[in-house]
Amino acid sequence: MKSKTKSHSGYTGSKLDLTGFHLMFLLFSLALTSIIGLSFIKIFKTYFWEKTHCTILSCKIDHAYKTESSYGIDISYTYTFNGQSYTSDIYQHNYQGSSDYTEIKQIVDQIINNTQVNCYVNPECPQEAYLTRESLWRDGSAILVCQIFTAIGVGGIVFTWRKKNPKKNESNKPKPKSALVTKWYMKPLKISSQHQDFSLNNKRPDSIILKSDSSAIKNLLGGIFATLFWNGIVSVFLSLVLDSFEKGEPNWVLTIFIIPFVLVGLYLILVTFYHFLKLFNARPILTLTPGVTPLGTTTELSWTFRGWMKFIRHLTITLSAREEATYDQGSSSKTDKHTFYEMELFSTNITSEMTAGKVKCAIPQDCMHSFQAKHNKIIWSINVKGNIKLWPNISSKFPFTVLPTDPSDDQ
């Protein structure tokens, strides 16, 4: 028996790729945390400033505060600190104003009508005073959201490098055969769960309706979820960027950092829209008769479509078999696919021939039957492809089981 070993030289390379990918998240998060953190600290410090009585000199609505469409508070007040008198015109640190006139009017009226007004004075620099303190909530929550990126970055790097390369270990030190066997032997329940029924004596259905391996609705819902999740997070930082532009003090560092993340968000929106359009495609319904197909037999494939067929330009139906191997790569698992058999069963440009039909489907004798284990699979499928101009194409795979050759056929 020949031994079969596969090369895994790309393992370290893929680790570096993953590290680079996660490092991007980490750097992005650290940069954002630093920027927002500085602002947070500045606001936080004001909570230790001294509350001092002040006298309002003037207070009115600023009708063109920062931008022409926003209202602000034009204020001037005087206060005494450590025996010295000071004047300030700052209502609140980093105050953005509001486009809501009523809101600003209420604040101004409240200040004018209040006889006991206090301001907050910086004890280290008494010239600096604010009438109100900014809430910590906005910057605080933005920092917390940043930590999602930090967790993805740090977690990804840690998992990438913590996970040992089993193949590498195997090749580096000679291992007694018993070690491998012990591993199998010690987990009998897990092993037995991988049994696949190759019995040919089970009930054989006359026909079977094949089920597609993908669902348009599931793809759409997945797209919506991913889009909302990603863009929800990115929008927090996007609002900070837009705020900085509105104030006339653009934050270029944050703007440049956020561009790739916004582009990913736009891509997700496009993908979701693509899946939405696919919902309106005609859906193929395939039936195999007989319903059990051992190697070397011929079965009849019949098809119909549910939905609008008018715009399909070309329809192709193929029989194919592929290998699938799933393996761990860093912190995630990856599946490689390789099609080793493909036979065109039907192809047409004529719409009337597309809507329904039948074709003989011969399963080759000297090929490999269907196989399904936890990480390795051989999948036989009927593939339907329909080309539609200026619209997402129909592309569905319908897996079915090809059994080993029936030994009774030889007798």
Partner: protein, 126 residues
């Protein structure tokens, strides 16, 4: 010095689905074994994480450090021995003493032709 071996009748290593395999499991051990088991199993090799399935186990009742026991196993219909681009399926018999402290493995082929199925032998038109 521990010595384990599996002798299959007529030194046959290729079998067809449903065929009965007969042979003898032998062992020479320094100590009395607590358990001796013969497993028929298949496992995968290749790019994917390894999958293993024990199809049949025979537990030998023995308290002798040196012994031999005949066995007879009817092979299942599948999976066939296979060698592809991403994965291979390999059948083997394994004689295990004391849950893996000692073992011996003998690979076999299971397929209708007596040779493992390869992608090259299939009538692929990729």
């Amino acid at each position: 010095m521990n010595n384990l071996s599996i002798e299959i009748q007529d030194n046959q290593t290729a079998f067809t689905p449903g065929e009965t395999m007969q042979g003898t499991a032998q062992w020479q051990l320094d100590d009395i074994p607590k358990s001796v088991t013969l497993n028929l199993l298949w496992y995968t090799q290749g790019k994917g994480t390894e999958d293993v399935s024990i199809v049949e186990s025979i537990h030998f009742d023995t308290y002798a450090p040196t012994d031999q026991k005949p066995f007879s196993i009817t092979l299942p219909n599948g999976p066939y021995s296979f060698s592809g681009k991403l994965l291979s399926i390999i059948w083997a018999l394994e004689l295990i003493v004391d849950k893996g402290s000692e073992c011996h493995r003998q690979e076999i082929t299971l397929s209708p032709t007596g040779q493992e199925i390869t992608i090259n032998t299939s009538s692929a038109t990729v």
